[in-house]
């Protein structure tokens, strides 16, 4: 299926304004696994006939990892550059499939002059379903054991726990919760710029511990809502040599698959 992915520049040329900007993020743009999530989300947007646009080559890293690595200069340079472009295009609403971008755009850009309504893709998709613009009819995941890993930057950082779970419910799935979930969910180990470095010395990797949490629920699928969590959990499942039995999927992928998109 051909994806329709217009850019802001194209909208501008036609003198139009999209309903919402899709912030793809660096992982979603370049990482092979995350690109699949990006595409699944676009398929859903296309299926719902949403007027959206991306910045394309005008998008740049939000600066989350730099900020959390301690480089406030680099973060603010990135932020100011991005805000200049977003404001030039008069962007009001942004949706992103990355909780890190979500958190940064929503919480850390305003005081630098970037004020937008920002949604995580699970929130946005839930809204589309509620408004009847996106229809989920196929319940092909019914009966599967699915657990949900809360991304820290969606859950604790921004108190969004229900949107992803509501979407899973739409798919006819009863989430099998891990012992540590929602408020007490354990991190996958990637946040705070850990994604880009080797862990400090210890007796286990965080993603392995979190994968063990997930395995205790005996799942067919581990669902999540963050490209970094996805990588960490996928690696954890491989480490446990369970990749033949257990899939790690983003909620957008589950929705797209169930609609045969």
């Amino acid at each position: 299926m051909k994806l329709t992915v217009p850019t802001m520049a194209q909208y501008m040329a036609e003198g139009k304004q999209p309903e919402i900007l899709f912030w793809v993020g660096s992982a979603g743009s370049y990482d092979d696994r995350a690109k699949k999530i990006t595409k699944a989300f676009v398929k859903l947007l296309n299926a719902a006939n949403i007027d959206f646009a991306v910045l394309g080559t005008e998008e740049s890293c939000t600066g989350d990892a730099a900020k959390r690595a301690g480089n406030e200069f680099l973060f603010q340079m990135q932020a100011v550059t991005n805000i200049e472009i977003l404001n030039a295009y008069e962007i009001k609403k942004i949706v992103t499939a990355c909780p890190h971008s979500f958190n940064t755009l929503k919480n850390e850009y305003p005081s630098l002059g970037g004020n937008y309504q920002v949604f995580h893709h699970t929130q946005y998709l839930q809204q589309l379903i509620k408004e009847g613009r996106l229809k989920i009819t196929n319940k092909s995941f019914k009966g599967k054991r699915i657990t949900f890993h809360d991304p820290c930057y969606l859950g604790r950082a921004n108190d969004v726990y229900e949107a992803p779970r509501e979407l899973l419910k739409e798919l006819g799935i009863d989430v099998v919760e891990m012992k540590r979930h929602k408020r007490t969910a354990l991190c996958c180990g990637a946040g705070g710029a850990q994604m880009f470095k080797e862990p400090e010395k210890g007796d286990k990797d965080v993603n392995v511990l979190r994968t063990e949490d997930a395995l205790q629920t005996n799942p067919d699928i581990i669902a999540t809502g963050c490209p970094y969590c996805n990588t960490m959990m996928t690696d954890g499942v491989k480490f446990k040599e369970k990749e033949a039995e257990i899939e790690v999927l983003d909620i957008a992928e589950l929705l797209a698959q169930s609609s045969n998109l």
């Binding site: 743009s29 080559t57 511990l209």
Partner: protein, 434 residues
């Protein structure tokens, strides 16, 4: 009439309270060593947080057993302190059970104090067992060296002794027992002393009374040196804690100024800095306690060393050196050291060649944090160890360029390509056709 006991009592009271005030002053002085921070926003939300979290103990009860027992001790302590008021009046004015004049209500009051006292006693014994017999893991992490462990036990012993003295005092008070109202618990203790001469009984009662009130005064003054300070500081700390989403890190204003200048095409790069605004001495991030803001220092004194943070920290759970509780304990220890230094040097800090970063908290600890906010979520008194970790990382990176190599690579990539990986910015939309 013999006024000696009253005079002695007044002296003890003045010393006890005087020394406490001195400690509180020192505490405030030390906290004020921190940087200024604007906490004037969201007053009603802050007030609500304080009422719910400090007064209402809403976060304590998330761990039901410890939470339930803690509520007993907390309520018990607050309410039984009404009794202290009577003790002070009796002590100063040579009265005996001054409030007993209020009639039946007195029995109800003392009766409930007695029940609370026995409940507190039981709760405290269970607490002691959790630490010393069951050895719950979070009380035995490596930062729980001998002092923190002893401190916790001393507090429990104090409470056991104070509660027992209260009950003994009531049990040996012949006139109170004769009233037979409110002696709900002490009536069962009184028989232990039966057969004793009235004078002996009186002596025991007086001794219990004196040791009880002196014990309270000593305990009051012990607070400053102990994690027990949280019984006071939990209130301001929950009030001043951040009301923003937990994921939101502050944007350093000093950096914003420079970034705006760099991005401004009209700015003259060779301009001589304005004398008044000369902030060349501005330090980015935190290397010592005086770089932290005062709410962070307040947090350090508030920390109860309960270890709920550490027991939920992914880094700590996987054997890394990082422990958010240790971050708070180190901050307090260093702040105390700085405070003592100032006291010893006539109000001026004399460089001691030490700092929080390196001498207390190592880089290895700081780099292990995933910024997951589990510690912040868990803390029953709204402390953010994460904010201190982040501030110190900022110092490492912006002042010392001391990030791990891989992180430097990541940051170079962002600078050059607008992504943490070495991909070409022009390829950013390639995914749509792949």
């Amino acid at each position: 009439m013999n006024y000696l006991p009253n005079i002695l009592f007044a002296i003890a009271l003045v010393f006890g309270i005087g020394y406490f005030v001195r400690n509180v002053r020192k505490l405030i002085r030390n906290i004020k060593l921190g940087q200024d921070v604007d906490v004037s926003d969201n007053k009603s939300q802050r007030f609500k947080n304080m009422v719910n979290i400090a007064l209402g103990q809403s976060k304590m009860v998330r761990r039901p057993i410890a939470g339930f027992l803690h509520v007993i001790v907390y309520v018990g302590f607050i309410i039984i302190n009404i009794e202290v008021l009577e003790i002070i009046i009796d002590g100063l004015f040579n009265t005996h059970r001054f409030f007993s004049g209020i009639g039946d209500l007195y029995g109800v009051l003392i009766g409930s104090f007695e029940i609370l006292a026995i409940l507190v006693l039981v709760a405290v014994i269970v607490f002691w067992a959790r630490r010393n017999v069951i050895k719950i893991k979070r009380f035995w992490n490596s930062e729980m060296t001998s002092w923190p462990k002893n401190d916790a036990n001393y507090i429990l012993y104090f409470e056991m002794v104070l509660m027992s003295l209260f009950l003994i005092m009531n049990a040996t008070d012949a006139s109170f027992q004769a009233m037979d109202s409110g002696n709900l618990i002490s009536q069962y203790i009184a028989p232990w002393f039966s057969g004793m001469a009235e004078s002996t009984l009186h002596l025991i009662e007086r001794t219990a009374w004196w040791v009880h009130i002196l014990g309270i005064l000593v305990f009051l003054n012990y607070l400053y040196f102990s994690k027990h300070l949280h019984i006071l500081l939990a209130f301001p700390n929950t009030y001043y804690a951040s009301t923003k989403p937990k994921g939101q890190l502050d944007n350093l204003a000093s950096v914003t100024k420079e970034v705006m200048l760099m991005m401004d095409p009209n700015a003259d790069p060779f301009a001589v800095p304005d004398e008044d605004n000369d902030e060349t001495l501005e330090k980015f991030g935190v290397s010592d306690v005086t770089d932290l803001n005062w709410t962070q220092l307040l947090s350090a004194y508030t920390c109860t060393e309960c270890g709920r943070c550490t027991s939920s920290c992914p880094a700590n759970l996987t054997g890394k050196k990082l422990s958010p509780r240790k971050i708070m304990m180190d901050t307090r220890d260093r702040l105390e050291e700085v405070g003592k230094n100032i006291d010893a040097n006539k109000g001026e800090f004399k460089n001691d060649g030490k700092q929080l970063l390196g001498d207390y908290i190592t880089k290895e600890e700081l780099w292990a944090c995933t910024t997951c906010n589990a510690c912040v979520e868990e803390c029953p008194v709204s402390i953010s160890p994460l904010s201190i970790i982040m501030d110190m990382r900022r110092y490492l990176v912006m002042e010392e360029s001391a990030a791990p190599v891989e992180l430097n690579n990541m940051m170079t990539n962002i600078e050059n390509n607008g992504a943490p990986w070495p991909y070409n910015q022009m390829d950013r939309l390639n995914w749509k056709d792949e």
